[in-house]
């Protein structure tokens, strides 16, 4: 199965952007590339760069900011291949941000399922 690991943390948290934390991402990513779990990953720019789009009554409405104001913001993701939820949770627990943020583990909806 494929799982999306959504990395949430408060952007104001001191650990965000801390070179020591960022440095941990290298070995973590290498580890899951070697194990074959890695599919893709990206880091996102902060939510103050976000734009939200909705179509209402045929009109495109564009607003500044994220879809919802929350205490923790989506800062990046990993798409991984895992045998089951336990394995996916095991990988999520090793994401460096898990130590101060939250990792939401979501199964990918297979297109033929």
């Amino acid at each position: 199965m494929q799982y999306l690991l959504l990395i949430y943390s408060a952007e104001s948290h001191a650990a965000n952007g801390d070179p020591a934390v960022l440095a941990e991402y290298g070995p973590f990513t290498q580890g899951i590339v070697q194990s074959g779990a890695f599919k893709s990953a990206d880091r996102l720019k902060p939510v103050n760069t976000a734009t939200t789009v909705r179509i209402r009554e045929g009109k495109t409405l564009t607003t500044d900011g994220p879809f919802a104001e929350t205490r923790e913001q989506l800062g990046g993701y990993y798409l991984v291949e895992a045998k089951d939820l336990d394995e996916a949770v095991g990988i999520a627990a090793k994401v460096p941000t898990a130590k101060y943020g939250s990792i939401e583990v979501r199964p990918i909806w297979p297109m033929n399922g």
């Binding site: 045998k83 939820l85 336990d86 199964p107």
Partner: protein, 414 residues
Amino acid sequence: MSAGIGIDDAFRRHGAEALATLIRLVGDFDLAEEGLQEAFAAAAVAWADTPPDNPRAWLIAVGRRRALDQIRRKIAYRSRQDQLAAEAEIERQTAPIEPDEAEAAFGDDDLLRLIFTCCHPALALETQVALTLRTVCGLPTAAVARAFLVTEETMAQRLVRAKAKIRAAGIPYRTPPRELLDERVRGVLAVIYLVFTEAYAGDPRQSLAGEAIDLARRLDALLPGRGDAPALLALMLLHDARRPARYDDAGDLVLLEDQDRGLWDSAMIAEGLALVEPALKAATPPSPYAVQAAIAALHAQAATPQATDWRQIEALYAVLLRLAPSPVIELNHAAALAMVDGPAAALPRVEALAARGTLDGYDVLPAVRADLLRRLGRNADARAAYRDALRLARCDPERRFFRRRLAELEGQRG
């Protein structure tokens, strides 16, 4: 039906085991449940003439066939290509299995797998308990709903959502690997204890207490030396040993101090007592279950209520409060303190707990408060507290008990 066992009996004894094996064989919770239900329906007819030698194997063999029939019906609506793939899979699986093969298909670990899946931490704790009661203990959905004080429809929906999450999120159907085992065993024990306490407060016939004890025994046998199963087992045995004395012939609640101790189950007490010492020594600090078992052991060993070692019980509750702080333990501690230092010493603690509001809705809090007030001669306050308890009581014997206490206090001044 003269020979063999009845359907109800078979369901209680083998329902969960057959389901556990069927889930593994057909790879789907719902399909396995549907298959097993149909197998029981078929058994109602087939067993009337010739009950099988091995009911569990019969149920597995027939349940699997019926589950595969279900798959066949469902694929009729799919695309041609999907149908072909599914048919091939069914062909592979459908070779009928004879009862002795079905018996061989049942693995001791199947039930353990089912338990670990129902108690997976990705499910909410309440859902884990509900799912365990429904699938492992074989309780009807209506009975599970009663234990949670929700309607049957609400519980049915909750169970459907739980099974949907197991499938969609990829919760594995297996015994967890070594590195996850301790944590998962702790989770299973918490669920077993909730099953036990729900049964304890709910159905006076206490059928679920036996299931909880059985689950702890099986867990300990399948994973010896892992976790606190013996401590929990001791705790449950020592509590459940008092069950025969807990209700009188009219089904009314009998308090610990008024119970006929001759009715206590001496075999269960002996088994429980033998487990307590090793459980206390198994870890430092001891597991909270072991401390609670030690408290239950002190009650079990007292020949009369007056002989109860309340001082030691109070001390053990103080230990428990440090190990696993909770408002319920605080309440128990206060009740023990009342037995050592008198109701006046305990009442302020109970009042403070009530003021915090964390136990709102828990009938034992006003019941303890009412008892302390009664013993202090504050009858009007005691009556008000018993009325609070009566409003919150969760079963009829409790309601009758509170009404009786109220009646005793009626007309008394104070």
